[in-house]
C-alpha cells in the first residue's frame, strides 16, 4: 500500500479535489437540509439535522413561527433537495428564496421546475453518484480480479478433472440454483437447508478428484481450460454495447433501486479489470517464487491466492479510476434519459429537466460542472496510477 500516498503527494490538486468531493458527499445532509443543525428550544439543545426525517415540527419553516426558539444554527444551504416552492419555479441563480422563515437566503444556483433548490440537489446528487459508482466498481474489482487470476494462471495450461467430478460439479450447481429458485418462488427459506450438504460436498470434491485420477479409470478425465472459459465470458459480456444492456435491463425492470443499479453496472464493468488482471498474472506466474511454491506442493488455488494475486492486482487496479468515472457517467446518463427510480436525487435528473426547457441554462450548467469535476478527479487518479512513480522521468505526464 506504499504507493497510494505517493500518488496524492504528486498532485496536490487531485488530493484537494478528491477530499472536497468525498466531504461534500459524506456531509450532504449537514451542508444542505431543511432542518437546523443546532437548535435552542427554551434552553434545551436539539440537533434535528442529524436525527430522522419524520419530525415536521423541527423543520425550519415551522420553527420560524415558533416563539420558543432562542437561537438556531442553519445549514449553509437551508433547503432540502425535495423541498418544493411553487412560488419560485425555475428562478435564475442568486434569486431570493420564498419559503417562509428563509426570506433572507438566496437560491445560489437557482431552482428547478418545481422550485427545488439546485445547489441542494447538486450536493445530494454527489452522494447518489459516488455510492452507485463505488459499489459498482467494488463488485467489478472482485469479479474481475478473481476471474482474471483464474484465466491468467491457467493460460496455456489445462486443468485435469475426472469426468465423474465434473458431472458432480454440474449436478451440484443445478441443484443449488434449482433449490434457490424453488425457495424463492414459494417464499419459504427452508429449502435453503439443501445448501449445507451440497457445500460440504463441494469442499470435498477436489480430494475426490485427486483420488479418482489415481484409480484405474483415470483415463476418463476431461481437460478443461479455464482461460478459454474466462475469455469466452469476457467476449460474451463485451459483445453487446454496455449502454444497450443497461437500457434494456432498466427499461424492463422499472424502478431499479440504488443497489440494483450498482450491481448491474458492476456486472457490466468487470471485463476490463479481468483482462488487465489476466495479463499481469500471466507476466507474474513465471517468476521463480511461483515455481518454488508449486514445487513445494502448494495447491494451485493457494498459489494463485497467496503468491500470484498479491503481486498482480496492483497493475490491474490502475483502471479503477476510469471505471469509477465511467460508472458516474453511466448513472447520470440513465437518470438523464429518465429510467431510474424517481425519488433519488441525481445530477442526471437535473440535466433531464433542462433538456425539456433549454432556456433554464442553470439546470444544465451547474450539475454538469459537478459531474465532470467528479469524473475528472477519478480519471486523473487513474492517469497518475498508470504512469507509476518509477517511470516518472520518462514523460511529463
Amino acid at each position: 500500500m506504499k504507493f497510494t500516498p505517493a500518488i496524492f503527494t504528486r498532485s496536490k490538486t487531485l488530493l484537494i479535489a478528491g477530499l472536497v468531493l468525498f466531504t461534500v458527499a459524506l456531509l450532504a445532509p449537514i451542508l444542505a437540509g431543511n432542518r437546523p443543525l443546532v437548535l435552542n428550544l427554551n434552553g434545551a439543545l436539539h440537533y434535528p439535522a442529524i436525527k430522522g426525517d419524520a419530525d415536521y415540527s423541527m423543520r425550519m419553516t415551522t420553527l420560524a413561527q415558533n416563539e420558543d426558539v432562542r437561537w438556531m444554527v442553519k445549514p449553509p444551504i437551508p433547503f432540502s433537495p425535495h423541498d418544493m416552492d411553487l412560488h419560485r419555479v425555475a428562478v435564475p441563480p442568486f434569486s431570493k428564496a420564498g419559503i417562509p422563515g428563509l426570506e433572507n437566503t438566496r437560491h445560489w444556483l437557482g431552482t428547478d421546475e418545481l422550485g427545488r433548490d439546485v445547489l441542494a440537489q447538486v450536493i445530494h446528487g454527489s452522494r447518489t453518484s459516488l455510492v452507485i459508482a463505488l459499489i459498482a466498481v467494488a463488485l467489478a474489482v472482485v469479479i474481475g480480479i478473481l476471474l482474471g487470476a483464474v484465466g491468467g494462471y491457467w493460460h496455456n495450461r489445462t486443468l485435469r478433472i475426472h469426468f465423474l467430478t465434473l458431472f458432480i460439479w454440474l449436478m451440484i450447481a443445478i441443484v443449488l440454483v434449482h433449490s434457490a429458485w424453488v425457495s424463492w418462488t414459494i417464499e419459504n427459506l427452508a429449502a435453503v437447508l439443501v445448501f449445507i450438504p451440497m457445500l460440504t460436498l463441494t469442499y470435498l470434491l477436489p480430494r475426490v478428484n485427486q483420488r479418482l485420477l489415481k484409480t484405474p479409470i483415470k483415463n476418463w478425465c476431461v481437460l478443461l481450460n479455464p482461460d478459454t472459459l474466462v475469455l469466452w465470458v469476457i467476449h460474451l459480456v463485451t459483445a453487446l454495447p454496455a449502454y444497450f444492456i443497461l437500457i434494456a435491463l432498466i427499461a424492463v425492470w422499472r424502478n431499479v433501486s440504488v443497489v440494483g443499479l450498482s450491481v448491474i453496472l458492476g456486472l457490466l464493468m468487470w471485463p476490463e479489470i479481468a483482462r488487465l488482471m489476466r495479463a499481469s498474472v500471466i507476466s507474474v506466474r513465471n517468476e521463480a517464487y511461483v515455481d518454488a511454491a508449486s514445487a513445494l506442493g502448494v495447491s494451485p488455488w493457494k498459489v494463485v491466492i497467496r503468491h500470484i494475486a498479491p503481486n498482480a492486482w496492483r497493475s490491474a487496479l490502475t483502471t479503477i479510476g476510469f471505471a469509477v468515472g465511467a460508472a458516474i457517467v453511466a448513472e447520470s446518463f440513465l437518470s438523464f434519459i429518465g429510467i431510474s427510480s424517481a425519488n433519488t436525487v441525481s445530477w442526471g435528473t437535473l440535466l433531464a429537466s433542462s433538456r425539456s426547457n433549454p432556456e433554464w441554462w442553470w439546470l444544465s450548467v451547474f450539475p454538469g460542472l459537478a459531474l465532470i469535476s467528479a469524473v475528472l478527479v477519478f480519471y486523473r487518479l487513474s492517469g497518475l496510477l498508470i504512469s507509476s512513480p518509477e517511470k516518472k522521468h520518462s514523460s511529463p505526464q
Partner: protein, 468 residues
C-alpha cells in the same frame, strides 16, 4: 491471412449464438406479458380487467407467438410441476397453479382440482349472479390452500342453487385433499426434460414448418405496428451509420494530426496545459455537451444558429444534390461534434503517447542522424506507429458508435439505432430487441476483425506473431 480471418469468424460463431441465447434469456426473465404488448395493451391498465386473459384474441395470439411451447430444448423444473401448465393462457392462474404444485408436491390432485373448478365455473356462469362468478374466478388466483378453502365456504353460502352448492362442495373436497397429503419436499428434486425441436428458441432460430426464422433472414414482425422488423432496423441502422461515418472521419482527421503535433511541443508547460485541456474534454459526457449546445446554440434565448431536431424528411423535393448535401452537413454538425469531442480527446492523448515513445527510440534517432527532414520523420517513422492505438480502438468504435449514440440520438431526436433500441426496450417490442441485439453483436465481431486486419498491415510485429 484469409484463413486466419475465417478462423476468427468461425471462432465467433458460437459466441454469436450465445449472445442470441443471452438476449433470449433476458427476454424470458423480464416481467411483462409479450402477448399484451402484441395486442398493443398497456399491462398496468389491463391488470384490473382479468377478462382480457379469457378472450379468444389473447389465447390465439399466445399460440401465434409460440408461448405455449417450451422455451428451450432442455429444461430443469421441479419434478412436481407438470408440463401441462404451459397450455394455460391466464398468467396469474398459471403462476398460482405452479406455486400450488411446488408447495403441495401433488400435481395430479392439483390438476384434478383445476379441471373440477373449470367445470364448476361453466355451471356457475349459466345460473348464478356475477358476484358468485367473481369469487369463483378469484379462487384460481390463490396459491394457498387455506385461502382457497375459505373462498369455497364463501361460495357455498353465496350460491342460490342447491345443485350448484353441491358441485362447489365437491370441488372443495378435492382442494381439501391437497391439505392432507403434503409432499412439498418433492419439489426440491429437479427433473430434466427434453422438449425436442418444438420450442420457442428453435422456432425463433429456424422458423416454423419451413417458414420464417432467423436462418431465412426473417426477424419476425414488430409488435407495435405489425411491420416486418428487418426494414425498421435497416432504416435506423442507416441513420446511425451516416452519423458514425461523419464522426469517425472527424475524429481521425482532427485527433491523429493533433496528437502528432502535440508530441512535438517542446516546452513542458505548454504540453501539460494541452494535456490537461484534453483530459477535461475527455471527461465531458457527450450528452451534457449536447444539452449545453441545445441550450446555447439552438434556442431563441441565446444564439439560434442550429436546428434543434435532425429531420431530413423536411428537405423539399426540388433541391439540387449539392444543396441537399449541405443541408445534411448543416444538420450533422452539432450531433457529430458533441459525439466526437470526448473520443477525439482520448485518441489525441493516446497518439501523443505513442508518438513520444517512437521519438525516444533509437530508430528515430538513427533516422534523424541520417538527415531526414522533420516532415519525412513524421510521415515515415512516427505516424505509422502512432496510428496503432487509433486502429486498435477502431474495432471497439464501431459497436460503441451504436450505443454511444443513444444519448446523442435522444437529444437531437435522430431516428437511429439508439433511439430505436430505447423505444423498443420500453415498449417490450421483443422481435425488434432481438434484431438489435444480434446486429450489435455482429458489428462487434466485424469491428474486431477489421481492426485486426488493419493492424496486420500496419504493425509488422503482429504479423510475426501469427506465423508462429
Amino acid at each position: 491471412m484469409a484463413w486466419r480471418t475465417l478462423k476468427r469468424l468461425l471462432y465467433w460463431f458460437p459466441g454469436l449464438l450465445s449472445v442470441c441465447l443471452l438476449g433470449f434469456v433476458l427476454i424470458q426473465l423480464s416481467p411483462g406479458d409479450p402477448v399484451l404488448a402484441r395486442l398493443n395493451l398497456i399491462p398496468d391498465a389491463v391488470s384490473t380487467h382479468e377478462s382480457i386473459y379469457e378472450t379468444a384474441a389473447y389465447q390465439s395470439t399466445r399460440v401465434e407467438l409460440g408461448l405455449n411451447r417450451a422455451p428451450f430444448y432442455l429444461s430443469v423444473q421441479p419434478i412436481t410441476v407438470p408440463d401441462k401448465l404451459r397450455s394455460i393462457a391466464h398468467p396469474g392462474r398459471r403462476k398460482a397453479l405452479q406455486s400450488l404444485c411446488i408447495r403441495r408436491g401433488d400435481s395430479s390432485t392439483v390438476l384434478d382440482w383445476y379441471n373440477a373448478h373449470i367445470v364448476l365455473r361453466f355451471r356457475l356462469a349459466e345460473s348464478e349472479p356475477a358476484m358468485v362468478q367473481r369469487i369463483a374466478s378469484e379462487i384460481l388466483l390463490q396459491s394457498e390452500t387455506e385461502e382457497i378453502l375459505r373462498r369455497y365456504r364463501l361460495l357455498t353460502e353465496a350460491c342460490q342453487n342447491a345443485e350448484n352448492a353441491a358441485l362447489v362442495m365437491q370441488a372443495a373436497r378435492i382442494a381439501a385433499k391437497l391439505n392432507e397429503n403434503q409432499q412439498g419436499w418433492k419439489s426440491l428434486i429437479p427433473a430434466f426434460q427434453w422438449h425436442g425441436l418444438n420450442n420457442q428458441f428453435h422456432r425463433w432460430l429456424f422458423g416454423d414448418s419451413g417458414e420464417g426464422g432467423l436462418i431465412r433472414g426473417d426477424f419476425g414482425r414488430s409488435y407495435r405496428d405489425n411491420q416486418p422488423v428487418a426494414p425498421i432496423v435497416a432504416s435506423a441502422f442507416s441513420q446511425t451509420l451516416i452519423l458514425a461515418i461523419a464522426a469517425w472521419m472527424l475524429m481521425f482527421l482532427v485527433a491523429v494530426p493533433g496528437g502528432l503535433r502535440l508530441a512535438r511541443i517542446a516546452s513542458p508547460g505548454k504540453a501539460r496545459f494541452w494535456l490537461h485541456l484534453l483530459l477535461v474534454l475527455y471527461s465531458i459526457p457527450s450528452y451534457w455537451l449536447g444539452t449545453l449546445m441545445l441550450t446555447f446554440l439552438c434556442s431563441p434565448d441565446f444564439l439560434n444558429w442550429f436546428p434543434v431536431a435532425y429531420k431530413l424528411m423536411d428537405i423539399p423535393e426540388n433541391t439540387s444534390w449539392l444543396s441537399r448535401q449541405l443541408i445534411i452537413i448543416y444538420h450533422l454538425i452539432l450531433p457529430v461534434t458533441c459525439w466526437t469531442a470526448a473520443g477525439a480527446a482520448f485518441l489525441a492523448i493516446q497518439t501523443r503517447k505513442e508518438a513520444q515513445a517512437v521519438m525516444q527510440s533509437k530508430g528515430y534517432l538513427g533516422a534523424k542522424a541520417r538527415g531526414l527532414s522533420d516532415k519525412q520523420l513524421m510521415t515515415n517513422h512516427v505516424a505509422p506507429r502512432a496510428l496503432i492505438p487509433a486502429i486498435g480502438w477502431l474495432g471497439g468504435l464501431i459497436p460503441a458508435s451504436l450505443s454511444g449514440a443513444v444519448a446523442i440520438e435522444l437529444i437531437f431526436s435522430i431516428n437511429g439505432m439508439g433511439n430505436l433500441a430505447f423505444q423498443s426496450f420500453h415498449m417490450r417490442d421483443y422481435p425488434v430487441v432481438m434484431a438489435i441485439i444480434l446486429i450489435a453483436a455482429l458489428t462487434t465481431l466485424i469491428g474486431t476483425v477489421v481492426s485486426d486486419l488493419l493492424l496486420h498491415y500496419i504493425d509488422p510485429r503482429t504479423r510475426e506473431m501469427t506465423t508462429k
